[in-house]
C-alpha cells in the first residue's frame, strides 16, 4: 500500500520480538503480585504468592530464548555483556535481565529453603540427592535461621519491585526512544508497557490459579480471586487510560506523523487494535467491575473474573503485536505501509506458539520440584509426613485476615517494611526499629 523504502519490504522485528515484551510483562506482573503479599502484606493473596514467583521464573527462563533466536548471529549474544555500548537503550538488557533473574532465583531459594531441607531428608533416591544439592549444604532450619530466611525474602521482594518495574519499563523505553518510528516514539511508552505488564501478569495468575485449582480438584479461594480481580481492575483502568491518551494526544496535535498513524490503526490493523486489544480491555473492565457486585452469585463472579483474565491475556498479546509489528508497518517515508506476512516456520507462528507453551511446561516441572500450594490440597500427604508445612494459618475466606488495606496504609506498610529490612541488613544507624 503506497510507497515504502525498498529496504522496508521485510519486517525486521517479527513475532519473537512480539513475544519478548509479552513474556517479560507477564514476569513483571506475576512478580508484583507476589510482592503485594510479601511486601505490602496483602494477605489475601497468600494462596498465589508462591505460585506467582514460580510462574515468574518459568516465564523469565523462556523470555531470552525468543530474543536470542531472533538474532542474526545468536552465538554472539554475549557481546551485549562483554562490550555494552553505554549510549544504547538495549545494551543494559543483559545486565538488567541477569540481575533480575538472580533476585528471583534467590527469593525462591530462600522461600523454599525449609522445604528443600525437609525434602532432602525425607525423599529417597535421586530426588533426595537433587534436593540435597539444592540446599547448598545449608541445612539449618532452626526458628532463628528461618527468621533470617524470611527477612531475606522480604528484602529481595522489596528490591524486586523496582527491578521488575525497571526490567519491563526498560523494554518500553527501547521502543519509545526510537525517533524514527512515529508509532513508538512517545515518552509514555515505558509507562504503558509497565502497566500492561502488570495487567497481563495479574491476569495470568488468575488463569493459572484457576486452572491449577481445577486440575488439583481444589476449591478456588474466592477472596484471593476477588483480590486479584480488584488489582486487575485498577491497573487495567490505568493502562487503558494511558493507551488511549497516547492516541488522543497524537490525534489532537495532528502533527505530521498523525496521518500515517491514523491510517495504521484504521486501515492496517483495525481489528487487532480496536477489537482484540481495546475491545477486550473494555469488556474485561466491565466484567471485572460487575464481578465486584455482591448480589451476583459467587459462581458467576468467579467465572467473570476468570474470563476477564483470559481475555486480558490475549488483549495484551495483541497490544504487543500492534506496537512491535504495527510500528514497523508504517513506512518511514510516511507514504505507505508494509505488509506483514505471517511466517509459519522461520520466526513464525509455530515456533511462537512453542515459546508460549514452553513456560507452562517448565512451570509444570517446577511445581513438582517446588510445590507452591498454600492450601494443603495435593500437598496434604507430604504436609502430614513432615509436620507443620504452612508457617502461618491459612485465612479462612479472609475472615481471619485484616480488612483490605487502603492506599495510604499500603504506602505506610511499604515504608515500614523497607525500613525494617534495611535496618536488619545492618543499617541500624539510619533506620530505627519501630
Amino acid at each position: 500500500m503506497g510507497f515504502v523504502y525498498p529496504n522496508e519490504v521485510e519486517i525486521n522485528w517479527g513475532l519473537f520480538i512480539v513475544l519478548y515484551p509479552y513474556l517479560t510483562g507477564l514476569v513483571a506482573g506475576a512478580f508484583i503480585v507476589s510482592s503485594l503479599y510479601h511486601v505490602f502484606g496483602v494477605s489475601k493473596l497468600k494462596p498465589v504468592s508462591r505460585l506467582a514467583l514460580i510462574s515468574a521464573l518459568a516465564l523469565l527462563l523462556v523470555a531470552p530464548l525468543a530474543l536470542i533466536s531472533h538474532l542474526g548471529q545468536p552465538l554472539r549474544a554475549l557481546n551485549l555483556m562483554w562490550t555494552p555500548n553505554p549510549t544504547s537503550a538495549m545494551a543494559g538488557f543483559g545486565y538488567i535481565y541477569s540481575f533480575y533473574l538472580i533476585i528471583v532465583l534467590l527469593e525462591i531459594w530462600f522461600m523454599y529453603r525449609k522445604d528443600l531441607v525437609e525434602f532432602a531428608a525425607t525423599r529417597e533416591g535421586w530426588t533426595g540427592k537433587l534436593y540435597n544439592i539444592l540446599t547448598l549444604g545449608a541445612k539449618d532450619i532452626s526458628p532463628a535461621a528461618l527468621h533470617t530466611d524470611h527477612k531475606v525474602v522480604s528484602a529481595l521482594a522489596i528490591i524486586g519491585i523496582p527491578s521488575a518495574a525497571f526490567l519491563h519499563g526498560y523494554v518500553g523505553f527501547i521502543f519509545g526512544a526510537i525517533k524514527a518510528n512515529s508509532w513508538w516514539s512517545t515518552p509514555l511508552m515505558p509507562v504503558i508497557f509497565l502497566l500492561s505488564a502488570i495487567v497481563s501478569g495479574v491476569a495470568l495468575l488468575i488463569v493459572v490459579y484457576a486452572v491449577t485449582c481445577w486440575l488439583r480438584k481444589v476449591k478456588i479461594d474466592f477472596d484471593c480471586l476477588m483480590t486479584m480481580n480488584k488489582y486487575l481492575l485498577i491497573f487495567l483502568i490505568l493502562a487503558f487510560v494511558l493507551e488511549i491518551l497516547e492516541v488522543i494526544h497524537m490525534a489532537y496535535e495532528a502533527e505530521e506523523e498523525w496521518p500515517a498513524v491514523k491510517g495504521l490503526i484504521t486501515q492496517v490493523i483495525p481489528f487487532s487494535y480496536f477489537v482484540v486489544q481495546l475491545g477486550q480491555m473494555v469488556m474485561a473492565m466491565f466484567l471485572l467491575f460487575m464481578a465486584t457486585f455482591k448480589r451476583i452469585p459467587a459462581k458467576i463472579r468467579q467465572i467473570m473474573t476468570i474470563v476477564s483474565g483470559a481475555s486480558i491475556l490475549t488483549s495484551v498479546l495483541a497490544m504487543r503485536f500492534n506496537v512491535v509489528v504495527g510500528g514497523q508497518l508504517i513506512s518511514k517515508s510516511s507514504s505507505g505501509y508494509t505488509r506483514f506476512h505471517w511466517p509459519l516456520w522461520h520466526e513464525g507462528v509455530i515456533p511462537t506458539i512453542g515459546f508460549l507453551i514452553l513456560p507452562f511446561v517448565i512451570l509444570f516441572v517446577l511445581v513438582r520440584v517446588l510445590p507452591p500450594w498454600m492450601d494443603g490440597g495435593a500437598a496434604v500427604s507430604v504436609t502430614k509426613r513432615r509436620g507443620a508445612f504452612v508457617p502461618k494459618p491459612v485465612p479462612v475466606r479472609g475472615k481471619l485476615s485484616p480488612a483490605e488495606p487502603t492506599g495510604g496504609e499500603l504506602w505506610e506498610r511499604f515504608v515500614v517494611a523497607v525500613g525494617r529490612n534495611l535496618s536488619r541488613l545492618g543499617l541500624r544507624g539510619v533506620w530505627r526499629e519501630e
Binding site: 523504502y5 525486521n12 522485528w13 542474526g72 548471529q73 554475549l78 549510549t87 538488557f93 524514527a180
Partner: protein, 255 residues
Amino acid sequence: MNKKVPRRQFITGACKLLAAGLAAPLGSLVVQGNRSLAASGEKSWPEIWDGKQWGFVVDTHKCIGCGRCVKACKQENKVPMDDEVYRTWVERYVETSDGVSIDSPNGGLNFPPLEEGGEKQFFAPKLCNQCEKPPCVQVCPVGATYRTGDGVILVDEKRCVGCRYCIQACPYGARFLHPETHVADKCTWCYHRVLRGMKPACVTVCPAGARKFGNLGDHNSEVAEIIETNRVRGLKPEKGTKPRVFYVGLDEVVM
C-alpha cells in the same frame, strides 16, 4: 545459566590461543596482498583522518533514473543482486491529479516505463546519510557500528549480533540485514575505495553527474563548492541527525 560461564571462558581462551597461532602467519599474507592506503605503510589511524570530512552531494535535476548506481553498488559491495536490500536506491516522484505517486521498483535498478504524469516528475537517489549524529550508532548495543574520524559510519561484521535495532533507529531506511552474513549492512560510501583514493562506485559510474563525493574539509573540493554556492538541504532535518548527504533541488515531497 551461571554454570556455563567457566566452560565458555575456557572455550574462548582456547579459541583465542588457536586464533593467535593461526592469525600471525595468515595475517601477514593478507596485509601484504592488499593495496589499501593504511596497509601500504604511508599513514595509519588516526592520522588518515586528518583534514578529512567526507561529504556527498546529490543533484536531483541531473538524475535520469538509469539505475547504474544501484547495480554498481551491489556489485562493488557484494550485496545479492536479487534480494530486496539496497545500500543505495533511486526513488521516482511523479505528480498526478491524485497527488504524488512514488515508486522504486528493484530499488530503481530498472524503472519500467510509466506514462501518466504531470509536469513535475523527478528522481531522488538515496543512500546512507552518514549522519553527524547517527541514531544507528547511538542504539547499537555492542559497539558494532561506529563513526570514523573522517565522518563515515561503518559496521563491524564480526561483532554485530544481528539484533536489527540500528535498522529500526535509522529514519532513512538505509540499513538492512544482509541476507548472507546475517549482520546489519549499509552504504559506507565505499570506504574501502575512498581509502584507496577512489570515489564511491555509484559516483564513479553515474553517467549523469548527479552524484558527487569529496572532502567537505577542503573548501576547494567540488562538493564544498556546490554546497557553498547552491541551495541545498539534507533529508528529514527535523530528526536532528545532521545528514552529510546534501540534495540540490530537493522537493518537499521527498521524505
